[in-house]
Assembly symmetry: C2
Homo-oligomer: 448 residues x 2
């Protein structure tokens, strides 16, 4: 689907803005999400120059769709008064993300310029630790009392409909703001106007705790196919709601985190295009050094068998092939487990069952690969080396697979992220095991 307005905006940005009126019209036709994302890619100064042409309401809306770090850069270019106005107009969850990007000293000065109720709301929402349900929720939701009738509820929803993130779920609370039930707008439309809310509300509400992990909360919302889920504190008071669009963002972020870990890259809260060289080095080097350190053990293993190698140099030909196969089989097994653990499809208690299954899978794969490499071994180095190579292959694949499938469980068990069991880590561990098995088998079988 091509977007003609976006294409015309691109042309204008490239060739200079010669027609103010057309620029205005194009930006009005573009969805704030698309405009926000496109402007995110510009230099902050250029993006700000375009934003300045809009009404504050529209600036607020577009800014809420900027990439976090970019929104922070643009905020620096605003005067305090104007920025305070815009913050008052932004969706409540997005403005907290923006505020967090602003340096401490300015933040306090700025917040004093924001209206009291908005300021309190911002302070309350920014209290939550990152990666909790509280940190992604918004405070723009609809509440009802259970003594209302359906008609009264609809009137009350109509009144606030304009500035609530979603009006399709309404939350029924008692005098202490504790959640007692939920009604959907669909239900309100289906019942007669005089019906009491208490008679139609659903009291078995699926909810999140404000300090719960955002990934767990995201998986729950998705499991129940909900548009929004209330977030409660310890006293069951409703503190906010998490909506499906936030959950999609959370899940995308968490999947990216897992991908990066699986490639043994450190956590990055910034898009790859924007990441400075220093950050990329900083996020990649530590793991590479850890892995080099582990590889020293493979080297030491080889040194230990120096005599074996000198006796039959041909053994070295098969070294990369054997140790890599163990690492590859291990990487496959760990990938399967890491993903299944992340989606909740597999739990720690399933380890033993899956381990038993993995033994069969690994041994069968190992034997087939052993037969395959025995042919290569035979033609390249004779029957004796062929036997050594194929025996080692079976061992390498089996040990690599079992290590690869178990490590994610072990990490999860001790509260580490299972995705830390990355392909490079598994490969390095499998290498050490592979070197030791290979030369031990060779020394024994060839009687060196």
């Amino acid at each position: 689907m091509k977007n003609i307005y976006l294409e015309r905006l691109d042309t204008m940005l490239r060739e200079g803005i010669d027609n103010e009126e057309e620029l205005h019209r194009i930006c009005e036709m573009l969805h704030p999400a698309v405009l926000g994302q496109r402007l995110s890619e510009l230099d902050p100064e250029d993006a700000k120059a375009i934003l300045d042409r809009f009404m504050p309401e529209n600036q607020a809306l577009v800014l809420s769709h900027f990439r976090k770090e970019k929104a922070g850069e643009i905020a620096e270019l605003y005067m305090d008064e104007m920025l305070a106005d815009i913050i008052e107009l932004m969706p409540h969850d997005d403005r907290v993300d923006l505020i967090k990007q602003i340096p401490q000293e300015r933040r306090e000065k700025l917040l004093m310029k924001v209206e009291q109720p908005d300021r309190d709301d911002i302070m309350r929402l920014s209290m939550y630790e990152e990666e909790t349900a509280g940190s992604v929720m918004t405070s723009e939701f609809v509440t009802l009392r259970d003594t209302m009738t359906v008609e009264e509820a609809l009137v009350s929803i109509r009144k606030v409909a304009k500035d609530r993130e979603t009006i399709y779920n309404a939350y029924v609370v008692d005098g202490y703001n504790r959640l007692t039930g939920i009604v959907t707008l669909r239900e309100l439309l289906l019942y007669a106007g005089g019906t009491k809310i208490s008679d139609i509300m659903n009291t078995d509400v699926v909810f999140a705790r404000d300090d719960e992990d955002q990934e767990v909360v995201a998986n729950r919302l998705s499991e129940y196919d909900l548009i929004a889920m209330p977030v409660l504190d310890e006293q069951n008071k409703i503190m906010g709601i998490v909506t499906f669009d936030d959950v999609m963002d959370v899940r995308k972020e968490e999947a990216t985190e897992d991908f990066h870990k699986m490639g043994s890259v450190g956590l990055m809260n910034i898009s790859l295009s924007d990441a400075p060289i220093k950050l990329l080095i900083y996020k990649r080097l530590p793991w590479l050094l850890v892995l080099v350190f582990m590889n020293i053990f493979s080297g030491a293993g080889i040194a230990f068998f120096e005599d074996t190698i000198e006796a039959v140099v041909a053994l070295v030909f098969f070294l990369p092939l054997l140790i890599d196969s163990g690492g590859n089989a291990g990487a496959q097994a760990s990938t399967l487990m890491v993903r299944a653990l992340a989606t909740g499809e597999v739990k720690i208690r399933d380890w033993f069952r899956l381990f038993s299954k993995e033994i069969f899978v690994a041994v069968i794969i190992g034997i087939i690969m052993g037969v395959a490499v025995s042919l290569i071994g035979f033609f390249r180095a004779g029957p004796e080396v062929a036997v050594v190579v194929s025996l080692t292959m079976i061992c390498c694949v089996t040990v690599g697979s079992l290590l690869g499938m178990s490590l994610p469980f072990l990490l999860q068990k001790f509260n580490f992220d299972p995705a830390t069991a990355s392909a490079p880590l598994i490969t390095s561990i499998a290498d050490i095991a592979g070197v030791l098995m290979y030369f031990s088998i060779a020394t024994w079988y060839l009687s060196i």
Copy 2:
């Protein structure tokens, strides 16, 4: 969040069902999504025995939350008449998934027992190719005419509210069923009853084509924060809608696919727990064999340098360390690119810019690692080998990184999935390059 009903159901399933009434009550209290997922884990016979206790409406609802392949197994246990009734009651997108699981011969017989309109709907929806927007859409949406007033629209929505997947977006169509606009229920509530739909509808609709790729469509819905998106055919006729919950499932599925590819595991449309041993072997072995085949080249490289190795056996100590480091750096770079390409954050045209950046990152990382291993080399094998090892390290990390970051772009360019550039594949390629560089540098520097 513990679910006491689920815990009691588990106890009952374990210890035998002694209290029919309590089982009924528990199942009523459980959300169909939770019940469906829990029953999915049982043997088909046991799950069916529990389902049999419910009304057909509830069986349909719970079955729609079963894992696809499991729903198919349970369908086999139903008599045709009963299954046809249940299919009529299921959500339109889920029942198509179920029908696809039923063997061809039975499917035709079964469909003849389903009421005409439902049968037509099933046939129409199952026509679409897998992984297209058409294959995940549902036909349960609300349409309006632009000549209606807001009040008439609300009356018409109320009438169908019960059995539409979402009523929060209503689609305005002309006499040929072509989409002309969209109104949200929120807007309908905000405007006076007499307002014409044509005056308030939004004509700049974000939509999907029925043959578009599901991942692209999912990313679009998420970008615009939409609850649902209309799916149009070539004539702009509305064929169905894709809702946010389907999109969450699609994105989860696509992320899992990418994870598995990155671990060089073949595509599996079945959960890990249910996957039979044969399937696991079948999905893992081919890549392992391809990689072994590639490793033969590393072996050949080593064989070519046999004299060098015999002259300085100590070189072998550093072999795993050097070739692994190149592979690891490459795996990091490819992981970053694969994920950024999948989320659309980076496009093919960005390759050159990122390649230039990668050169800096890789060379700096290479130099730091080169210095680190030169120390190891010095203490283990003297100054000359130390120089060879650290020079090789710089080359390995640089070449590995540039290969790793470029391969995903190359694959995408030729319409392969960039995730095919898995850590094991990159490792194997980096191994070959590493072996050649290592022994070439050694032969040259040590003048062997």
